[in-house]
């Protein structure tokens, strides 16, 4: 499974991408986030407040109950802030 990190999520975790072997008992976005958080360090601090984390599975926004599988590309990032300055 490919994990991609952007913006301050990338900065806090300390990398912009990684490949992982998905544990068999991790089957949803929510479970994946919990599993990443349990790694501690930058993962725990980046994912401390899940209300400011957005997830895309294969480049589509995904809710916490969305299924994840080996071979998926999962991106973690903050709410988007592009477009025009407010």
């Amino acid at each position: 499974m490919t994990l991609l990190y952007f913006a301050w999520v990338r900065e806090q975790i300390g990398r912009d991408a990684e490949e992982i072997a998905l544990p068999a008992d991790v089957q949803t976005v929510a479970a994946l986030l919990d599993w990443l958080r349990s790694r501690g360090g930058g993962y725990a601090s980046a994912l401390e407040d899940l209300s400011v984390i957005r997830v895309a599975v294969n480049q589509e926004f995904a809710a916490p109950d969305h299924a994840v599988a080996d071979g998926d590309e999962i991106a973690l990032f903050p709410p988007v802030t592009g477009g025009a300055p407010s």
Partner: protein, 152 residues
């Protein structure tokens, strides 16, 4: 036309794309980088994008707008990387037969881009930098409802 680029955006390129003899109005929005945030001087803005997904989402917004307002074309350009103060970070050009739809579609395009396109903005000051926090809005009702249902 959709463009995601680290190069300078030329508004004329986007307005010329939506020009048609059937259009009575072209409405163009330029998003420019402001030099201050809450009184603090901003040196530059840095835009980071999830490139592949951003291009897809820009195209989705374009198709949405074209369908909703019956437009022939919407041209959108978004800048990535470092953008100096006063430069253009976003161009949206809409051509429509009448100006009312053009203004409305252009406004909606900018709002939708801010909701769903995976691009993030960082303000760089003399004494540090800050990732801009998202305005409080719902980008899809389903997603927000799901977040509330699934959280905890």
């Amino acid at each position: 036309m959709i463009e995601l680029t680290s190069q300078t955006l030329d508004p004329e390129k986007f307005t010329s794309v939506v020009r048609r003899s059937t259009n009575g109005a072209i409405v163009t929005f330029l998003g420019t980088t402001r030099d201050n945030f809450e009184g603090k001087g901003v040196l530059t803005l840095e835009y980071e994008a999830f490139d592949e997904m951003a291009v897809k989402k820009l195209e989705e917004v374009r198709q949405e707008l074209m369908a909703e307002f019956g437009l022939d074309d919407v041209a959108i350009g978004h800048r990535t990387g470092t953008v100096a103060i006063g430069e253009i970070s976003l161009v949206v050009a809409v051509g429509s037969p009448h100006r009312k739809d053009g203004f409305y579609a252009c406004h909606k395009a900018v709002d939708r881009i801010k909701e769903v396109v995976p691009i993030w903005k960082k303000e760089v000051y003399e004494d540090g930098s800050r990732w801009v926090a998202c305005e409080d809005h719902e980008f899809t009702h389903e997603h927000e409802a799901a977040l509330q249902a699934g959280d905890g």
